[in-house]
């Protein structure tokens, strides 16, 4: 089994998984390692990071110095191919033209999806994050608790490799002994931010990122991950030895040809293929989930993008892992006499409660970091430290004016110069040039700091997606129409971010080029801009108030599961990818158990 075409598909699989990113990769991995016969269907092309990743290419070897263009919207060397904020022939729409009511949707069309370019930030949700309604009366509690997910966080971290430390901070969980990889040393600007952040009460600790800082322990980890499964252990032990540790060069957004960081295509898919149990069908756009007269899912209908022809794939179980909104679209487009409002939508909640992460950016210049002696600051190809949310008590006491927290990511140092340079714009309102520009460049390069707040959004009734009644994509499939609105909680949070960042820059002795805006509407990112959209088929304890149960199994169709971020009942400030993988693994275990028991 391996890469298949519509002509070489098996007649029937145990499980068809729609999507190949964090959710699809983890689902396919867990299921195939335990013996299930799996078909993974990907709308984009096959992609091989080992041969296709630009590792050491400098920006002068790229068109336009590597700057983003409509063709490569994350920059030329960003791993994303065939996608971005727009996908040719595959539109989506917004219900409102009002400012601040727009939603942006990032979609790659490639094997591995967004995992190929993501930042590798792998933060665990904490105990509060599964019970937010119980804490502040807003949004929804999940039907599961941190304790239910913790063992799966452990497993995912051991499998993919995550660096970080255990700091014992509130709602920022530790990992068990021997699970994490050692963190990289902090860069000089990160050390300065840590020291000066303390004056403001902001803790700075190693961030958790899915990057190997040393080789995985292939002798012990496979047995911990797959107890009693000798074949899985052997395959994983071998695959772990084929992943190199980081060699401290090139940005992770490019992907990683030495497989030092996690992407579905370097970590999940290779061992899953090695089991012989996984077939992968690329360039296949799934249009709908098929159901039989009894209301059970029987497989999917897809369009072979190379021929435009429609085909079917059959399976005992269907797992949707297409990314939250694409999963919603699939369900809503799977209409039948039995399910006239779309599949698994008896609650009417499919598409509701789409959440993104609140984003707020701010930057400044730090004189203390000028003219530093040259030294290599590439590090692990991304952040080494961050600040977890620290004002839990003030927030609980109602002192902040917004309900949920944010963490702070910040970048410093001398990264590889790219296609958007400019120095010395702050020298007395004069654009420096000539030898002065060269001096300015030497002086200022590496002295800037850029902050990004990443905050929790409270789900609301005005943020959702539905099928646009008029628009179809080039395959004839009806597209999504988004409605979006930030509430005052997010808007005030964004203003708080900007104020905090400006204060932090001052505490570092730095220069804010303008005053922070007290109006959060000016500080907040567009909906979808952080690319953390989740929700749309939220999980819950009751069929009337949720789309899936606590196992991500749809209430209405028992052999239909949602493995991606659509099941999130809240969207903690923590980046969602690690939680998506932990839940996908947990769901796959449930599917295996239920298949063994004959319930599926």
């Amino acid at each position: 089994m391996a890469f298949v075409t519509p002509a070489t598909l098996a007649d029937r699989y145990d499980v068809v998984v729609v999507g190949s990113g964090a959710a699809g990769g983890q689902s396919a991995y867990t299921l195939s390692m335990d013996g299930a016969r799996v078909l993974m269907v990907e709308a984009g092309r096959n992609y091989d990071p080992v041969s296709e990743t630009a590792m050491f290419q400098t920006n002068d070897a790229a068109p336009l110095r590597g700057a983003a263009t409509p063709d490569k919207q994350g920059g030329f060397f960003d791993a994303t191919v065939d996608g971005g904020w727009t996908v040719a022939g595959e539109p989506y729409t917004n219900a409102s033209t009002e400012e601040g009511r727009q939603f942006k949707w990032w979609r790659p069309r490639m094997l591995g999806g967004r995992t190929n370019h993501w930042s590798r930030h792998a933060l665990r949700n904490g105990p509060y994050d599964f019970k937010p309604h119980s804490r502040d009366g807003l949004g929804f509690d999940w039907p599961i608790s941190y304790g239910d997910v913790a063992p799966y966080y452990d497993k995912v971290e051991m499998l993919i490799g995550v660096y970080g430390t255990n700091d014992g901070l509130e709602n920022t969980p530790d990992s068990p002994e021997g699970v994490l990889q050692p963190p990289p040393k902090a860069r000089i600007g990160e050390l300065l931010a840590r020291q000066r952040g303390r004056k403001l009460g902001i803790p700075v600790i190693p961030i958790r990122r899915a990057v190997l800082t040393r080789p995985l322990d292939h002798r012990t980890l496979p047995a911990r991950l797959h107890p009693g499964n000798a074949k899985a252990q052997r395959i994983l032990a071998e695959d772990m030895q084929n992943r190199a540790a980081c060699f401290w060069a090139t940005r992770c957004e490019r992907g990683c040809s030495i497989r030092a960081n996690y992407q579905s295509t370097t970590v999940h898919i290779p061992p899953a293929l090695a089991t012989g149990n996984l077939d992968i069908l690329a360039d296949a756009m799934v249009r709908e989930v098929l159901v039989d007269p009894a209301g059970k899912a029987t497989g999917v209908v897809f369009i072979d993008k190379r021929t435009g022809l429609e085909h079917r794939a059959s399976a005992r179980v269907v797992v949707l892992a297409a990314s939250a909104c694409e999963t919603v679209r699939l369900l809503l487009n799977s209409k039948s006499n039995r399910f006239p409002a779309g599949l698994a939508n008896s609650s009417g909640l499919v598409g509701k409660y789409i959440m993104d992460t609140v984003g707020g950016n701010w930057g400044g210049q730090i004189p203390l970091l000028e003219n530093l002696p040259p030294h290599n600051e590439d590090g692990a190809g991304g952040l080494h430290v961050y600040a977890p949310w620290w004002l839990y008590k003030e927030q609980k006491a109602g002192k902040l004016g917004f309900a949920r927290g944010y963490h702070i990511e910040f970048g410093t140092g001398k990264g590889m110069p790219g296609g958007r340079m400019g120095f010395g714009n702050d020298t007395g309102g004069r654009t420096s040039y000539g030898t002065r520009l060269k001096e300015d460049a030497r002086r200022y390069y590496g002295s800037y700091i850029g902050f990004s707040g990443r905050g929790e959004m409270v789900p609301n009734d005005d943020s959702f997606c539905e099928i646009d009644p008029k628009v179809v994509d080039k395959w004839g499939i009806p597209v999504l129409r988004f409605s979006w609105k930030w509430s005052e909680h997010e808007i005030r949070q964004a203003a708080h971010m900007q104020r905090t960042f400006a204060d932090w820059i001052e505490a570092m002795g730095g220069v804010n080029h303008r005053a922070p805006s007290p109006d959060g509407r000016k500080a907040i990112s567009a909906g979808g801009a952080v690319i953390h959209e989740v929700g749309g088929t939220i999980m819950g304890a009751a069929p009337a108030a949720s789309v899936t149960n606590s196992w991500s199994q749809t209430w209405d169709v028992k052999n239909l599961f949602v493995a991606d971020g659509a099941v999130f009942a809240s969207n903690a400030d923590k980046n969602p990818t690690l939680t998506i993988m932990a839940l996908a693994w947990r769901t796959a275990d449930r599917i295996l158990d239920e298949m063994r028991r004959g319930n599926l």
């Binding site: 092309r45 041969s51 990743t53 290419q57 400098t58 002068d60 790229a62 068109p63 110095r65 263009t69 409509p70 063709d71 490569k72 030329f76 060397f77 191919v81 065939d82 971005g84 430390t165 050692p182 990289p184 040393k185 902090a186 000089i188 050390l191 300065l192 840590r194 020291q195 190693p206 401290w248 060069a249 090139t250 490019r254 203390l368 530093l372 002696p373 040259p374 030294h375 290599n376 590439d378 692990a380 001398k414 990264g415 590889m416 110069p417 790219g418 296609g419 958007r420 340079m421 400019g422 120095f423 654009t431 040039y433 000539g434 030898t435 520009l437 060269k438 460049a441 030497r442 390069y445």
Partner: protein, 226 residues
């Protein structure tokens, strides 16, 4: 520099000025911005309809001209190179911008088919035309043929973000945009990266973090916890 009051001129007049300027005549007034751009090869031949597509080969290296035709005329190229080297001249540390191919990058930028490039590229081409017209008006020579002192006096008038003469605002915006493009072009080359002190992009066995004496000098020794 006493710059006379500028007036609005139409394109026909501007071209006439350009022609008379090349004959050595002095113009009296500052030309308007955007009104004096000659037909470029790009506007004459039409731009390529598409760029490199959504799935280019990322591993292969590219140079300007590989993916879409460069469109500077010989005169524009000469002027662009002169302005590149005013922005980034050679010094004891590194060569000038044009010496490491930045002119080609500017040409690639203004010739690219993407909407931002079409918009900004026009500003660049208009700016170069304005600069030649203004140089001709002041000095009786196109910019590339003006003396270093003449070039500097002209640049100094448009280097302030808010120029003393408000009619030079568009020229000042062009100057800054051009400066940043030249910086992008230069500091992304190996020579530029070395000049600026970027020493990464090499595989390492270990990541050591910042040098200990630097950490100590900034008073950050206590922060090194891991």
């Amino acid at each position: 520099m006493n710059t006379p009051e500028p007036i609005r001129i139409d394109r026909r007049v501007a071209i006439k000025w350009m022609l008379t300027a090349s004959a050595g005549a002095m113009l009296i007034r500052t030309p308007s911005f955007g009104g004096v751009a000659p037909e470029t090869a790009a506007s004459a031949a039409g731009r390529p309809a598409t760029g490199y597509g959504t799935d280019p080969d990322l591993v292969k290296g590219y140079k300007p001209g590989d993916l879409w035709p460069l469109t500077f005329t010989a005169a524009q190229r000469r002027e662009a190179a002169a302005l590149c080297d005013i922005m980034i001249p050679a010094d004891d540390h590194s060569p000038s911008a044009s010496a490491v191919g930045v002119t080609d990058f500017i040409d690639e930028f203004v010739s690219a088919p993407y909407p931002d490039n079409v918009r900004d590229g026009k500003k660049i081409v208009d700016g170069l035309a304005w600069l030649d017209a203004e140089s001709t008006r002041r000095f009786g020579a196109v910019f590339a043929d003006a003396s270093a002192g003449q070039q500097a006096s002209l640049c100094d008038d448009i280097a302030p973000e808010e120029p003393a003469n408000p009619d030079l605002k568009a020229a000042a915006d062009f100057f800054k945009r051009y400066r940043n493009l030249v910086a992008s072009g230069f500091y992304t080359t190996p020579v530029g990266m070395k000049d600026i002190g970027y020493v990464g992009n090499v595989p390492l066995a270990r990541f050591e973090g910042p040098p200990a004496d630097l950490v100590e000098r900034l008073g950050l020794t206590d922060e090194v916890k891991w």
